[in-house]
């Protein structure tokens, strides 16, 4: 295999990547860039190809076409057997954190973390520094089976970061952990990655994980990246209704669009129309935080069907009179309305316009 020339680019650059298993296309024409130090999440349902993409970047599998560039160095270009370059995974210098951590069970924690280091590197204090970074100082002599799931995952991240890779790949790293641990570890991992300074690409099917960990999210569906942006972009301006639902609780209304507003069961609402949907029947999307208590003497009368107290917030299931439209709202918990009672609401901000479903 010819070695590839060095180019200047992002920490990770993927262009035109495609992969099929037999006749089934798994990835089609994927373009993706990760800036140095950035954390990008690949978010999508299982089977959308996100893990395949990660494996192609790592070099565990070969793409049918397209190229992968790591830190400006092309590592894969063109199909297997073609004339393009191909760098095997052990010469790519990436960090890899698989599902469940997968520590080497026959090595203690220190040897696990030092696995990717040279003998000199192992003695240089790097192992201890990495354990310190992930909050596992003093655990070096433990064996993997003596650690909890969260501790194992932390050691796995330390192991991946120890050789100072430019890019770390994380494959659903929190999958095996319970919900509570997930939440705390997500924030921690983001801090660790940021302190470590490596760019990271994380595969996940969990929106909250992606939102907590990533600077940028790439939403995948059926082998394609359908949207890229910050978590806020993704929540505020999803490209389609499926993505809107993936980004968080979404309420859908039918309406008729005329210019900058639309007529709906909730009255005339101002809209955002970034996709340029033409006037006429449309679908409109509202987020729960847009449904607020109306100023006294105004607003639309709705019935509270259910009220769930969630600590500082109350989650309300509402419906308009006659049950025409179901709404959700998230209010501060002070004096929450009771189920069956009526409240007055108004819509704050604008509704997002999509073509009718």
């Amino acid at each position: 295999m010819p070695e590839c020339p060095i180019l200047n680019a992002a920490a990770l650059q993927v262009s035109g990547l495609a992969k099929s298993y037999g006749d089934t296309p798994v990835l089609r024409d994927i373009d993706l860039a990760v800036a140095p130090g950035a954390v990008v999440a690949l978010l999508g349902p299982s089977g959308c190809g996100k893990t395949t993409l990660l494996r192609l970047v790592a070099g565990f599998d070969r793409a049918d076409s397209g190229s992968v560039t790591l830190g400006g160095r092309p590592v894969a270009d063109g199909p297997a057997g073609g004339r393009g370059c191909w760098v095997p995974p052990f010469r790519r210098g990436i960090g890899y954190v698989p599902q469940d951590g997968v520590l080497f069970p026959h090595l203690d924690v220190a040897a696990n973390v030092g696995f990717g280091l040279s003998p000199a590197g192992r003695r240089s204090g790097r192992v201890e520094a990495m354990l310190d970074l992930v909050g596992m100082a003093g655990f070096g002599r433990r064996m993997p089976h003596e650690l909890s799931g969260g501790q194992q995952q932390r050691v796995s991240i330390a192991r991946a970061l120890a050789p100072s890779p430019a890019v770390v790949l994380l494959d659903e790293p929190f999958n095996a952990l319970d919900a509570h641990l997930r939440r705390t570890l997500c924030a921690e991992v983001r801090a660790i990655l940021k302190r470590g300074g490596a760019a990271a690409l994380m595969v996940t099917h969990d929106r909250d994980e992606a939102f907590t960990v990533a600077d940028e999210i790439a939403v995948m569906r059926a082998g394609r990246i359908v949207q890229r942006g910050t978590p806020a972009d993704f929540y505020r301006a999803p490209v389609d209704l499926d993505t809107a639902r993936l980004a968080g609780a979404a309420m859908l209304l039918d309406g008729t669009l005329t210019g900058a507003s639309a007529e709906t069961a909730l009255g005339r609402l101002p809209v955002r129309n970034p996709h340029g949907v033409p006037d006429g029947p449309v679908a409109l999307m509202l987020r729960p935080e847009q449904v607020v208590a109306a100023a006294p003497g105004a607003g639309l009368r709705v019935t509270v069907r259910h009220a769930a107290m969630l600590g500082p917030l109350t989650w309300l299931d509402l419906e308009t009179e006659g049950g025409a439209v179901a709404l959700q709202a998230c209010w501060v918990a002070a004096a929450p309305p009771e189920a069956g009672s009526a409240v007055l609401i108004e819509v704050r901000g604008d509704a997002m316009v999509f073509p009718p479903e």
Binding site: A58, G59, F60, D61, P88, P89, F90, R91, R92, G93, I94, G95, Y96, P98, Q99, D100, V102, F104, P105, H106, F115, G116, S156, R159, A160, P163, L169, D171
Partner: protein
């Protein structure tokens, strides 16, 4: 013949997990080489038959094939296989029912004793019976001796199935007024079919390829006839044509096994906790049942052990040829050790290829053991001699050639023992090591091997024990001057020198039989727990 007991049933478990694992670049690409080598070797017996047939031409082949002698061999081989299989099914099932389902006194002791004849190599028990009376020579005697050696292979799976059955089904049958015989016939027996058919195919296959005990007991089957034809004229076409029929028979059994495999998975009992069965009351039948089991063990185990003890005590007065015995032990250990290491190494590369690569290579690595398992050892040995003399005569009668035969014949056993160990190592573990900068061969040495070490040593030990008693391939391929324990036992008892044969027989039981028993019963237990 314990080896195949678990190799077959474990081969059967394949397939369900095939989709779950992915191939990966963690597998060194040279894994393909042993795979191709094994595939070529496995094709040798067929090539040998084809070459020989071509050499004598169509008419000559047909004349050799379609003659009364072949028909007679076919009849006696099938008669032996059918009789031993039927006998093993009856004895094995009855013993399993008594031990697992009746109120027979001392069931926990019987549970240990009844499968114990596994520890007695058939060659040794054939020797023991012969040394007692020449009347066991011939078909009836052979059936008796072999049923006593083979019934544990039916007993073990059937006993496990009886243990695992849900008693609720039998309660239902009882509640609608079925009597005990009807319950057994309508409710229990259908659930036993998977276990029984596995045992049946295994015993049948053993009978098709069995050689040593049959030669001692003077029963003419395909194997003994092929050996005679080979001894008379080294690579005669006659031996090849008989081999063709034998290979066809074995492949039929293997095909039946493959056909049954799919259905069998459905019939596995639920894995949850199962209520204990209330033991059936034997009543007046207690004494006959007890006596029957005692007689069974007396014949299968007591008699051979007693005969061995008799001949050994007798021999103590004379001088034992210690040098000769020690040299046989040395030859056996050396061949078995080298063979075990080679077999395990080849087996490991095939298991890794099956687990870590994708596409045709993985499928080939997955299915090859089925084919290899059905190859008669004698035919493999003859094919190796035939091609060795034509391609590389310098290898003829070398240890290397014998080791190649060992590696091929015991590959299914090694693979069975290695597979669970390799399954424990997730591909992700090797991928992490790759990502951390280790080349594939270093990943194999520093990650994969350390994590499968227990399975690796168990597999090596298992193959070693089986090789210690291997006779057929060793007889044909052993270098001049090499005499293993099994060869000595065979040679001495063929000449009716029973006193001289006894020490070799006793050593064979000690070094190979007992551990084989332990390993089989352990594996059976482990599977039962799953």
């Amino acid at each position: 013949m314990a080896e195949a007991a678990f190799s077959l049933s474990a081969l059967r478990r394949r397939g369900s997990s095939a989709l779950a694992r992915r191939g990966s670049s963690a597998a060194p690409s040279w894994l393909v080489l042993p795979l191709v080598a094994v595939a070529l070797l496995a094709a040798l017996p067929l090539a040998y038959v084809a070459w020989q047939a071509a050499a004598v031409g169509w008419a000559g082949s047909a004349a050799l094939l379609f003659r009364p002698f072949t028909a007679a061999l076919l009849a006696s081989t099938l008669e032996l296989a059918a009789a031993v299989t039927l006998g093993s099914v009856l004895v094995g099932t009855a013993a399993a029912w008594l031990v697992e389902r009746s109120d027979l006194p001392g069931r926990s002791v019987w549970r240990v004793l009844v499968p114990l004849p596994l520890a007695m190599p058939a060659l040794v028990s054939a020797f023991a019976w012969l040394s007692l009376t020449p009347r066991v020579e011939g078909m009836a005697g052979a059936v008796l001796v072999l049923v006593l050696a083979e019934y544990p292979l039916v007993y073990l799976p059937v006993a496990a199935a009886l243990r695992g059955m849900d008693p609720a089904l039998e309660d239902v049958a009882r509640s609608v007024g079925h009597g005990p015989w009807r319950i057994f016939g309508r409710t229990v027996l259908p659930q036993l079919v998977p276990a029984l058919s596995g045992g049946v195919l295994l015993v049948t296959l053993h009978m098709l390829v069995e050689f040593g005990p049959l030669a001692l007991l003077r029963v003419e089957t395909f194997t003994t006839a092929i050996y005679e034809a080979y001894e008379l004229s080294y690579d005669g076409a006659a031996a090849a044509m008989l081999s063709a029929v034998l290979i066809a028979l074995c492949l039929c059994v293997m095909a039946a096994e493959l056909l049954l495999r799919g259905r069998r998975r459905f019939s596995r009992a639920a894995s949850g906790a199962i209520a204990a069965h209330a033991p059936a009351r034997l009543g007046h039948a207690t004494l006959p049942a007890f006596a029957g089991l005692a007689a069974l063990l007396g014949l299968a185990l007591g008699l051979p052990v007693a005969m061995l003890a008799y001949w050994l005590l007798l021999a103590r007065r004379a001088a034992l040829p210690l040098d000769r015995i020690l040299s046989a032990v040395g030859d056996s250990v050396q061949l078995a050790a080298l063979g075990a290491v080679l077999t395990t190494a080849v087996g490991l590369s095939l298991v890794l290829a099956a687990f870590r690569r994708r596409g045709r290579m993985a499928v080939l690595a997955e299915r090859l053991p089925f084919v290899v398992h059905a190859l008669p050892g004698l035919v493999v040995a003859l094919a190796l001699v035939y091609f060795c003399l034509r391609v590389a005569p310098v290898l003829y009668q070398t240890t290397a050639l014998l080791l190649v035969a060992y590696a091929l014949l015991f590959l299914p056993l090694a693979q069975t023992a290695l597979r669970p160990a390799v399954e424990q190592v997730p591909p992700a573990m090797e991928e992490v090591a790759l990502a951390l900068g280790r080349a594939p061969w270093r990943v194999l040495l520093t990650v994969t091997l350390p994590n499968i070490l227990p399975g690796l040593s168990a597999a090596t030990l298992l193959v070693f024990m089986q090789l210690m008693k291997e006779l057929t391939a060793t007889l044909v391929l052993a270098p001049t001057g090499v005499r293993t324990l099994a060869m000595e036992l065979w040679a001495q008892s063929s000449q009716m020198k029973y006193g001289t044969a006894a020490p070799y027989a006793a050593l064979l039981v000690l070094v190979s039989g007992a551990p084989a028993y332990w390993a089989t019963v352990e594996l059976q237990k482990r599977r039962g727990r799953r």
